[in-house]
């Protein structure tokens, strides 16, 4: 080696290190802020401007949102540095160093383990907390008596799905040939269920189970696994081979598993109130979250002071803002006019609230910071560490392969872990209260409620039907904004852009998916507001999806179905459920919030496939024009 090289290894001091770190931190933080600013600003503006209600716990919410942004920053970097390279490494080595049975067992364990690591079923239990056993016995049993079996069924469903997804890469089956029969089967089974009264209650739960399965840790891992496998496996099938598809199947198969579990219990008869029930059927006071709005209470009144009374006596006129109520007396019809003799009149002064931006409490004293942090810590621990340990074990022991030297996987997993803790804590402190407020307050548009944090009734702002339309529009933008903030969708968008080498931009994918989810959630609130049975809301969009999938090119089918499985995640689900519960509590006859998430999953498939078909049509038509033009010019161009 001649002389000292010009680029030796450096050891930088603290100040220089910070100079290099700062732009990196700033860049990543601003990326995350770009994702979440819309939903936060929208929620605040909606509550202040449209509902004209103050925001409670503003200080805590602001702090929580900042923590969410920081947590997301760490989490996304952790994905990029650690989890995704680990997944890709395993995926690229798996076909070379092991045989098919080992691969399938690994895929099944990964899928099943991921379900237990990210328990979204707890979320569904919250959605079903208001289910009364007398109204929907099978549903109640599934959620309470057989909840362990429910989780296991979902786990098995996801495991089988991952297995099939990995098999698909080897056998080059186009995703269409797996997804279309699966959806067709599910729809026919759902039709049968919708005709049987006991089973029709379970439909919402089943379809929602499919929507919530893959969470923000599973999706990038599974995507990276698929990409790794497709990097090394090649064959002669055209563009269908790109590593997507596992998430799709992991969203469809759990639905089948839950439906089959419900069918089994239905035939065995061991649900609440059924012939073989082994539990206690005394109507235990089910925690009644759906408190009936008390309509008889008068609107809150303010007492009229002596000075105001004196002013009335002096002027004899009714001042502004006072209400006059008249009853009693003798009414006679004289000469075409009604004359009332000696009626009783009561003048009242209704309460007028001053508009304030925030309510008096700036921090919710019932939430303890350390308890929140501890919950977030255990959740993150459970979600990330077992999966990573399992993957590392598989890589080193089963596949006998070391990670590349100078890899950043350890750093990445640590970042992801820290990020997830902060993210979970931030959501509990910031987004959940905000969403809860709005969820409870949105019905003020069409019903009388006790708004959050206030102690009097406010009436419908817009009247029954217009108010419901306002609620539906609110739901659309809520879905749109919350989806833009989802980390799993960000990871999918990055991956799609990387796989297509920039041909399909992340921004385009995210905007079309967010639009689709917004439409889906608006449809869900529409279903809830007007009481339409779930099957009739699900079947038309899914049938349209089947038709569009059949005629779409393979590349688009792959990641459009995956984007459906990715959407409902840790940000969307609490917000949507809070809103669903709030709206449902104010509409008589609605007992649970199921079904919205399932509708939110079908919207993005339609929008992304639509975008794909449109661009393909434009390009095909234009390419034909170019070819024609060239042919007419070619004779003159003989070089």
């Amino acid at each position: 080696m001649a002389g000292v090289p010009d680029n030796p290894r450096y050891q930088l001091g603290l100040r220089d290190s910070l100079r290099i770190l700062w732009p990196y931190v700033k860049r990543n933080f601003m990326n995350q802020v770009e994702g979440i600013w819309f939903i936060v600003v929208y929620l605040i503006v909606f509550q202040l401007l449209i509902l004209q209600l103050p925001i409670a716990y503003a200080g805590m919410i602001a702090f929580g949102i900042f923590v969410v942004a920081v947590g997301l920053m760490f989490f996304m970097e952790g994905l990029r540095l650690g989890l995704m390279p680990l997944g890709e490494e395993i995926g690229s080595v798996l076909p070379k160093n092991s045989r098919m049975p080992v691969i399938l067992v690994f895929a099944f364990l990964l899928g099943a383990g991921a379900t237990f690591a990210e328990p979204a079923i707890a979320v569904l239990k919250a959605a079903g907390a208001g289910v009364k056993p007398a109204e929907a016995p099978l549903l109640y049993s599934l959620l309470n008596d057989f909840s362990g079996q429910l989780v296991s069924a979902v786990g098995v469903g996801v495991g089988v799905a991952v297995m099939l997804g990995v098999l698909r890469f080897f056998f080059m089956w186009p995703l269409k040939y797996l997804a279309i029969p699966a959806v067709a089967g599910l729809l026919s089974l759902s039709f049968y269920f919708s005709q049987v009264p006991l089973l029709s209650d379970v439909l919402g739960l089943a379809w929602d189970c499919g929507a919530v399965t893959t969470g923000p840790v599973t999706v990038p891992l599974v995507l990276a696994l698929g990409i790794g496998v497709c990097r090394v496996v090649s064959g002669d099938s055209g563009g269908g081979n790109s590593g997507f598809g596992i998430v799709t199947l992991a969203s469809l198969f759990p639905i089948l598993a839950v439906l089959m579990l419900a069918m089994y219990h239905h035939t065995a008869g061991d649900y609440w109130g059924g012939p073989n029930y082994r539990g206690d059927t005394t109507v235990a006071a089910a925690v009644d979250v759906t408190a009936e709005p008390v309509i008889e209470i008068e609107k809150s009144l303010e007492p009229i002071t002596d000075a105001e009374f004196q002013a009335y006596l002096d002027s004899g006129e009714l001042p502004d803002g006072y209400e006059l109520a008249m009853h009693g007396g003798n009414a006679r019809l004289v000469n075409g006019k009604i004359e009332v003799l000696e009626p009783e009149m009561v003048i009242t002064k209704p309460y007028r609230r001053d508009f304030t931006f925030t309510s008096s409490e700036s921090w919710d004293t019932t939430i303890a910071l350390d308890a929140t942090a501890k919950t977030a810590f255990t959740d993150a621990l459970r979600a990330i560490i077992p999966l990573c340990v399992f993957l590392y074990f598989v890589l080193r022991i089963v596949l006998r392969q070391r990670l590349q030297p100078r890899n950043d996987v350890g750093v990445g997993v640590t970042f992801a872990f820290v990020g997830m803790i902060l993210f979970g804590a931030g959501i509990a402190l910031g987004l959940t209260p905000l969403g809860g407020q709005l969820g409870s307050n949105v019905p003020v548009a069409f019903a009388e409620i006790f708004p959050w944090g206030l102690n009097h009734i406010e009436g419908p702002l817009f009247g029954a039907d217009a108010g419901k339309v306002v609620a539906i529009c609110f739901a659309f933008f809520l879905g749109y904004g919350a989806t833009l903030a989802e980390p799993a969708l960000n990871a999918l968008g990055d991956t799609v852009e990387r796989i297509t080498v920039g041909a399909f931009r992340k921004k385009l994918l995210m905007q079309s998916v967010a639009f689709g989810v917004g439409c889906g959630i608006a449809a869900g609130i529409f279903k809830m507001a007007y009481g339409i049975p779930l099957f009739w809301m699900l079947a038309p969009p899914y049938l349209l999806v089947l038709v569009l999938t059949w005629i779409s090119p393979d590349e688009f089918v792959n990641f459009s179905w995956d984007s459906a499985g990715v959407t409902t995640g840790p940000i969307t689900v609490p917000l949507v459920l809070a809103m669903g519960l709030g709206v449902g509590a104010n509409i008589p006859g609605v007992s649970d919030g199921f079904g919205i998430l399932a509708l939110a999953s079908v919207g993005p498939i339609l929008t992304v496939l639509g975008v794909g078909l449109y661009t393909q049509r434009v390009q095909r038509r234009a390419q034909r024009k170019v070819d024609e033009t060239v042919e007419t010019l070619a004779p003159a161009d003989a070089n």
Binding site: M1, P5, N7, L12, L167, S234, G235, A503, Q623, V626
Partner: protein, 398 residues
Amino acid sequence: MFSKDHAVSMVTAVLPSAGVDRITDAVLQAPDSSAIIWQARGTLLREHWWQRFVPPISPAKTMVHLLAPNDEVPHLERTLVERARLPQQATGALYSPPCAHAYFGSEFNVWPSRDDTPAAQSGHKLTENLNIIYCTVGHKLSDRVSKAAISAGAHGPIVYYGEGRGLRDRLGWLRITKEHEQEVLMVIADESDADQVFDAMAKAGELHLPGRGFMYRMVIDRGMFHLASRVSHHHYQANMQQIINAIDHLSGHSHWRDQAVFDVGSGGRGVGIDDLAAERPLLRDQVRLSAIAPREQCPELMEFLLDSGAPGFTVTYGRFAANEQSEGIAGARVNAEYGMLRCVTNQPKAAQVCSAVESGAESAGFADVAMVTNPVPTVACYVPGGVDHRKPAPPVAA
């Protein structure tokens, strides 16, 4: 020991993604022949305002690299042109610059020269006097440079991703701060056009400023390129190349292209005068090193090369297609992965790196490695100490 002095060329083909496997099977007929294949895309210009929201999806392309001996090159070119139907509009490109030096490790698959190569009679004539321009820019910054290239008369650049390595990797744990993948744009142009395209791209990408990117231009003797730049709705609208060819034909010469239109400020435009922009020094007579190694060994090889004096690399990984491939699992082929490390430096440093590879690589454990060099006449990048005329001149000491 590394063997040296093979007369090889790096045959590169840009093909539409569908059906690449059949084409590579047809080309890799000789035993021990191999190719490195990775994905790329073309670029299409946005023509309508609403395409900002629903942009045209760029065509997917695949780049195939073959290190073949010079005797085989005409036959390979002919096979590729026929199989991929390259003369058709908007399909792909093909070029094969000969390498100045080549070093092969003991285990690397060297393409053998055959004595019975059929004589090269090509039905399609390859265009002569071509230049190729490679431009490396940061993540998601390629749009501006692509637009400038297309406006200057080139086709839509072929873009692929590479990872930039070099200085940041020497900083220990701080290497996590490095940017995402870089985008490498590739444009093929006639020799007479290349100056204009090169300048336009350098200006749009502001490559004379530090940290913006790196661009170099190589001479390839012959090649063929038919790549699209736009997808248009309108009837009878000719694309840019057709218009330029037509004007060439009508005026009888191509000097009209030398006159650039530029802004003189306040909405005025001028033509025919030299651009009054900052003087941008260009580096001359550089050398491009390309090293090929299995993917698992690429990080270590990069450390070795950085230690020997190379300034930095762009690394692209691709899959390795060989002549006799073992069947993998369930009828699907399982390929190995190789990486290509590319670096452009001046000649003394290049010689230093090459001699280090020749003498030390085998003992350092890199047996399955190849390294080739190509001459690079012009490079545009940040040069410390360059003069920026936009700033006022420093006062001259009396």
